[in-house]
């Protein structure tokens, strides 16, 4: 599987995953949404990281789970894209 490196595509799919799995009805999830406010707690974050492995072919290391990378959906997407570029042979 070729790792996904486009942060825009990653953002869209992350938002869709959050809406379908964690956020209650009516909760808005867009690229600027803080993860905590759209229902991503520690349990959901692990689900999100496993989704990244399945959907984007990217394994995000624990050391990348910093406060700034988890500030919003877009920040996490950017981090995933960077990890994908770094893992490119």
């Amino acid at each position: 599987m070729t790792p996904q490196k486009d942060p825009k595509i990653i953002t869209e799919q992350l938002c869709q995953f959050v809406r379908e799995n964690f956020a209650a009805e009516g909760v808005v999830c867009n690229e600027q949404s803080p993860l905590g406010e759209v229902g991503v707690d520690s349990f959901a974050l692990v689900e999100l990281l496993l989704f990244c492995e399945r959907a984007f072919g990217v394994r995000v290391p624990e050391s990348s789970m910093t406060r700034s990378n988890l500030a919003s959906v877009a920040a996490l997407a950017k981090c995933i894209a960077e990890v994908a570029r770094g893992s490119q042979p």
Partner: protein, 443 residues
């Protein structure tokens, strides 16, 4: 107002909690009853609170719900009964009275609720001479979990522009009806959890319980550990440095396990692993409800004693095990398995649950309720000074560690059964927990 159900099946988590309730009462302990207390400065609009409670369809429904089993070997159900079920109880304390747990009079601190025999929920309002008050919501754990109780508080006291939960949010629709296809899917899913449970519960396991069953009645003890805002900020910073910034619960649990490990070492434990079931709220976030029922699943952590001396190793191991269990969809399959066993008679069900761990069940129970009453500065006009959770201790394992936050302050509660932990061991555990959270260097 929606048409609320007259009968509804118990969720898997409800029957599990009901089993714990039975087990505790057999040992002379209080039932599986939880409390959350709001300490309020003067200003509470008492008539308005009375009116909201009297007119609440949620509280009315919950106060009339009883657990019944219509026929042997059929799953138990909640049924609405017609008897009168008062919910609000008011108490006026003269100065200096009621110096029980958290300053509550015994009638409130020890209020017993039996979901088969009477209301499974009660609200107590304690008036003090200086016009400060404590509002105490007490509920049977068979009825709902702590998040459900939080929704009840928000229903009575909506915060900001957001509408509070209403009767529409009371019940999870999947609890009302589940399709045949869905039941079949869950049946298949249930099988995979058994392997996990057997694997994590294998001997040797460390337990605080004495080898012999208690001859007389047991009693439970509580110790509150409030942290200041400065301490809470320091704990947050330390959780980041232990690579648990987004998983602070793992840092808290690691500190609790370090404390327990010190107690176990004094008892000569060398090989016994620490088994910890951790509940997880399965509701969707950012919205209201479902309020009623235990919407929980469980993750099981097993920490070997060779790792339990180091906070960073415990945190890393917890992170790894959490990832593995979610990858294997253990939380879903575990609840599916609990669902499957609901037709079993309660005593047999309780014994059956303990089988994978040879009856030990766990080394300690741990829960992190997270942010409680978020954004709620006052309750019906009374400024909130403090929020306190009081939870029962299950035996086994005989020890519960609970964390929660209100505003910028973290609090913890140690709760234990007298024949499982001595007062000096409780002191050692508390010191170890504090040291883990605040002082100990990264190892």
């Amino acid at each position: 107002m929606p048409n609320l159900p007259r009968q509804i099946r118990l969720a898997a988590g409800d029957y599990f909690m009901h089993g714990q309730d039975r087990r505790m009462r057999r040992l002379g302990l209080p039932g599986n009853v939880c409390r959350v207390s709001l300490s309020l400065d003067p200003g509470l609009n008492v008539p308005l609170l009375r009116e909201r409670i009297q007119q609440s369809p949620i509280l009315d429904w919950m106060a009339h719900a009883r657990v019944v089993r219509t026929f042997p070997l059929l799953p138990p159900r909640w049924r609405i009964v017609e008897d009168s079920s008062p919910v609000l109880h008011e108490h006026h304390l003269p100065s200096g009275a009621g110096a029980g747990v958290g300053g509550l009079p015994p009638v409130v601190a020890q209020r017993d609720l039996h979901p088969g025999q009477g209301p499974a929920i009660a609200v107590d309002l304690v008036h003090y001479p200086d016009e400060s008050r404590q509002l105490v919501l007490t509920w049977s754990h068979t009825l709902m979990d702590a998040r459900g109780a939080e929704f009840v508080l928000r229903h009575l006291n909506p915060v900001g522009a957001k509408p509070g939960p209403t009767a529409e949010n009371l019940v999870n629709p999947t609890q009302l009806k589940r399709s045949l296809a869905e039941r079949w899917r869950r049946l298949k899913m249930a099988r995979s959890s058994l392997k996990w449970l057997r694997e994590s519960g294998r001997e040797p396991l460390f337990t605080l319980m004495p080898a012999l069953q208690p001859g007389g009645r047991c009693s439970s003890h509580l110790r509150l550990m409030p942290f200041t805002q400065e301490e809470t900020a320091a704990i947050d910073a330390r959780s980041q440095s232990f690579n648990a910034g987004f998983q602070r619960s793992h840092f808290y649990l690691a500190a609790a396990l370090r404390g327990l490990h010190a107690v176990a070492a004094l008892r000569g434990n060398r090989d016994g692993a620490y088994l910890v079931p951790v509940p997880h709220d399965m509701r969707r976030r950012g919205g209201n409800g479902p309020i009623f029922s235990n919407q929980l699943s469980i993750l099981f952590y097993r920490i070997e004693p060779r790792l339990a001396g180091s906070l960073s190793q415990i945190v890393a191991e917890l992170n790894r095990q959490m990832m593995d269990q979610i990858r294997a969809q253990f939380p879903d399959s575990c609840m599916a398995a609990l669902d499957l066993f609901k037709p079993l008679p309660l005593d047999y069900y309780v014994r059956h649950l303990g089988q994978p761990s040879g009856g030990k069940f766990a080394s300690l129970c741990f829960s992190d309720s997270g942010e409680t009453c978020q954004g709620m500065a006052d309750f019906v006009g009374g400024p909130i000074q403090r929020v306190t959770h009081l939870v029962p201790t299950w035996r086994p394992p005989g020890l519960t560690v609970l964390f929660w936050r209100y505003g910028q302050q973290l609090s913890s509660l140690l709760s234990w059964v007298d024949d499982c932990l001595s007062p000096s061991e409780a002191d050692l555990l508390e010191r170890g927990l504090r040291a883990g959270l605040l002082e100990e260097a990264i190892s």
